[in-house]
């Protein structure tokens, strides 16, 4: 044995093998143009990180449909959708900066940990240069933080909490969707004119970040109207049975029930409140009413006839009549045979906005993209004129106040638009108390 492998022989062959291995070696980060996952080939990768299982999976799957449609339109397939109505004409349907758009998908399971693991794999393994998605504000905030550290752009899709662009805002993160404050500001006047200014409200709130900020926002705006807040009760997420929370409402002297719930929770709590006969009651000489501040089509479909006449707010609805909405609804409907949801719209628009910002900046570098998106004004995306405010990376646009349709004609026609609240009415200062304490920091290009 020992004379077969002499020390000198081992050293020699080791050195040769070692230098052979090192020869084709180079530090990949150095060959990059100074930012994480700079696309080198003919393709650029997006990461679509949505809940495909769990309580918000319906929303997640609809977001995924919209993302795929957006990729098709960016690559020049299909009819182009909103690219034709978008006020910025930088995109020509030939990919982005000449690169074909491809994507990877992941399942967040509506859990921050899993969502971050999935986003990490997109960034580290698949070389994604932009991450988007989210159906829960907790997850969106967590992934936004990760993207900031990793040096990629995060285009938040469905997240409604004030914190996403408030306390937890990040330079690499952008939100097109509206937030709880805007819901409150848009809803309050409509509620005031419909139900009067002397009401007593009872809040049932999903016990997490989003629920808290929405409760705070709605309570503040209804109290400004003259309403009283009788009680705020927190309910666990995914409780399923809300009857033990609804029974005390009857004896509390309240005459409005505000449900700060979303997804399956909202379907259950609303249905049970209606079954308890709350809406047939007369309290304080007034008809008892229920309000669901954040609506979605998927929830409305789940709650069925229970939502008839119930007020809520939305970021966008497929029934709008502007050219952008019509183009989007047409191409979504042709591909999937159903109208897009609110969540699908914001996902689609975010993808296009990112692509447009890259094209205008002329680079995929996150800092260039941030610069291009900050204080960007655009139109033709279904919401009228929109501003992407640079101070907190939040979009400002009109907000829709919705009502459950009294006589739905088909399964998608469950909500009707009551009012389009103008942008000026829902605007606020970046350092508004409900949004204070956050710091964008500086854009991080990563490597």
């Amino acid at each position: 044995m020992s004379n077969k492998f002499s020390r000198r022989g081992v050293l020699k062959s080791g050195a040769i093998a070692g230098s052979g291995l090192l020869l084709p070696t180079y530090l990949r980060a150095e060959s990059h143009s100074g930012f994480t996952n700079a696309p080198t080939g003919s393709e650029v990768v997006f990461g679509f990180n949505v809940p495909q299982t769990g309580p918000y999976s319906e929303e997640g799957l609809d977001e995924l449909r919209a993302f795929q449609l957006a990729v098709e339109h960016l690559n020049g397939e299909g009819d182009g959708g909103m690219l034709n109505t978008f006020s910025s004409k930088a995109l020509d349907g030939a990919g982005i900066l000449g690169k074909k758009v491809t994507f990877v998908t992941g399942d967040t399971q509506t859990k921050s940990d899993v969502a971050r693991a999935s986003a990490q794999s997109m960034i580290q393994k698949d070389g994604a240069v932009m991450i988007t998605g989210g159906s829960s504000s907790g997850v969106a905030v967590a992934v936004q933080g990760l993207c900031q550290e990793a040096g990629v752009i995060f285009m938040a899709a469905l997240t409604h909490s004030n914190d996403t662009t408030g306390k937890d805002r990040k330079a690499n993160g952008f939100r097109h969707f509206f937030n709880a404050y805007m819901s409150g500001a848009a809803l309050a006047p409509v509620l005031g004119s419909a139900y009067g200014t002397e009401r007593r409200a009872y809040h049932l709130t999903a016990d997490y970040t989003w629920g808290w900020t929405q409760e705070e926002s709605i309570a503040a705006s209804t109290e400004a109207l003259g309403w009283q807040t009788v009680e705020k009760v927190r309910t666990p997420v995914g409780a399923g049975d809300f009857s033990s929370y609804i029974a005390p409402v009857l004896n509390s002297g309240a005459d409005v029930l505000i449900l700060n719930h979303y997804g399956g929770d909202m379907v259950n709590s609303l249905s049970q409140a209606v079954q308890f006969g709350l809406r047939d009651k007369m309290v304080n000489g007034k008809q008892f009413e229920i309000v669901v501040p954040l609506y979605s089509e998927l929830m409305a479909a789940g709650a069925g006839s229970n939502i008839q006449g119930v007020y809520g707010s939305m970021n966008w609805n497929w029934q709008l009549q502007d050219a952008g909405t019509q183009a989007f609804v047409k191409s979504f409907g042709e591909k999937y045979g159903r109208p897009p949801s609110n969540a699908a719209h914001t996902s689609y628009v975010q993808t296009l906005l990112y692509a447009d910002a890259v094209t205008r900046a002329g680079t995929f570098n996150p800092c260039g993209v941030v610069e291009a998106l900050e204080d960007f004004e655009f139109d033709g995306m279904g919401n009228g004129p929109v501003l992407y405010r640079g101070a907190d990376h939040q979009c400002f646009k009109d907000v829709l106040v919705m009502k459950g349709a009294e006589n739905p004609t088909n399964e998608y026609d469950t909500l009707e638009i009551v009012e389009t609240t103008p942008r000026a009415q829902v605007e606020y200062e970046p350092d508004h108390p409900m949004f204070a304490g956050g710091d964008l920091g500086q854009c991080n290009p990563g490597a």
């Binding site: 399942d107 899993v114 907790g138 900031q148």
Partner: protein, 396 residues
């Protein structure tokens, strides 16, 4: 060597070699090939392999040796993570204080829970631990929000004090490190079409996991380990001989709790965020699955089980219908959509189904887990040359 006999030393060295070569082993396919989908050698996943492997090793000290099935180990993982992130926020971005505090806190936590739960055995013990874990989860989710930041999870902020680090630059969040080595720095080695990632964080986790493995090896071979095995085989008999077994089980419980806390601290060190869902019962169940899947009571089994589950979770869940279409595009259109529809049930959002089916198959056909599968293959390999008769000879 290392106080082990020759066979165990060899075993340990093999484990060390396998761990250190993980970046190569997990990236067997060239980067641009179609099979690259199945590569798992990217830093975040390798770190998770090591961390969950470490947690399963610790769980196995309790479950594999004493037979006490704890359904609440995720609570210790969560407590470890929260302690570590608080250390990052208050003291320093160096991972050492974070790891030490996490081990102390999770140890104390395990002592308290173990002291109460170990008064019962069997299913009652499992339910008690489950109740404690669920309680911790609920507390973290909505009651102790000033400490845990609720559903959003505890994160670093630009304006955290970080006393020992002094005033850092305020434009971006600091990265956890070990005396200047940043956990997220990665050296990428490109050889031909292949590329391999060598990540500082992974090697820190790997070294700690190896130390944990060595500790567990020593415990398995020690008189203490023997005592724990005795608890598993017949606790009543032990009690009748006048021996109080509770200090032993409590010690095992605390040790495995510390392992879980250490794993939690490492999770936070690799990715400075601690979320409440880390403590959910599904997370506790996952550790049980890992241990059983790999082979409870074996040294290597839990690590294999952890790797197997994390691989499924991260790789299968990312295969979507578009990818399936590209794989089966050679088939005629009508057939393709049927085949894609079928496989789509098992990948993407259906990865839980794949895991469930594999788990059932393994539990039914390989009750000893993946380790038993390995042993069967090894013995088949050894005996393949020999003729049938010799193996049928009765033992003397």
């Amino acid at each position: 060597m290392f106080g082990l006999n020759q066979k165990d030393t060899k075993f340990l060295l093999i484990v060390v070699a396998l761990t250190l070569l993980t970046p190569f082993l997990l990236n067997p396919f060239p980067t641009d090939s179609a099979m690259a989908q199945f590569n798992a050698g990217y830093p975040a996943l390798m770190q998770r392999f090591a961390i969950y492997g470490l947690m399963a090793i610790g769980f196995n000290i309790l479950f594999g040796l004493t037979g006490y099935l704890s359904f609440g180990h995720a609570a210790f993982l969560g407590v470890g993570s929260y302690s570590a992130v608080w250390m990052f926020k208050l003291l320093s971005m160096n991972i050492l204080p974070a790891i030490i505090l996490a081990m102390i806190v999770s140890g104390l936590f395990a002592l308290a829970i173990g002291y109460i739960s170990l008064r019962r055995s069997g299913i009652y013990f499992s339910i008690l631990t489950l109740a404690f874990a669920e309680m911790s989860y609920r507390l973290a989710y909505s009651v102790l929000t000033p400490i845990t930041n609720g559903e959003t999870g505890l994160q670093l902020n630009l304006n955290d004090p970080r006393i020992l680090d002094g005033a850092a630059d305020t434009s971006s969040l600091p990265v956890p490190g070990l005396f200047g080595m940043k956990m997220n720095s990665t050296y990428t080695l490109d050889i031909g079409a292949w590329s391999f990632d060598f990540n500082v964080g992974f090697y820190v986790c790997a070294v700690i996991a190896i130390l944990g493995f060595y500790m567990s090896l020593r415990i398995f071979r020690s008189p203490f380990g023997m005592m724990l095995r005795a608890v598993k085989s017949n606790q009543q008999r032990m009690n009748y001989t006048g021996l109080n077994s509770r200090p032993y089980t409590l010690a095992a419980f605390v040790i495995s709790g510390i392992y879980a806390g250490l794993a939690g601290a490492l999770l936070a060190a690799m990715d400075p965020l601690a979320g409440a869902e880390r403590m959910q019962w599904t997370a506790s169940g996952e550790v049980v699955l890992m241990t059983i899947l790999g082979g409870a009571g074996t040294l290597m089994g839990p690590v294999l089980g952890a790797g197997f589950i994390k691989y499924c979770e991260n790789i299968f869940s990312k295969i979507n219908e578009t990818i399936l279409h590209s794989w089966f595009s050679f088939l005629p259109d009508s057939l393709e959509s049927v085949v894609v529809w079928f496989f789509a049930r098992f990948v993407g959002e259906g990865w839980h189904l794949t895991l469930g089916v594999l788990f059932m198959l393994i539990v039914i056909f390989l009750p000893g887990g993946l380790v038993e599968g390995g042993q069967r293959i090894a013995s088949w390999w050894k005996n393949r040359g020999k003729d049938e008769d010799s193996s049928n000879q009765p033992a003397e």
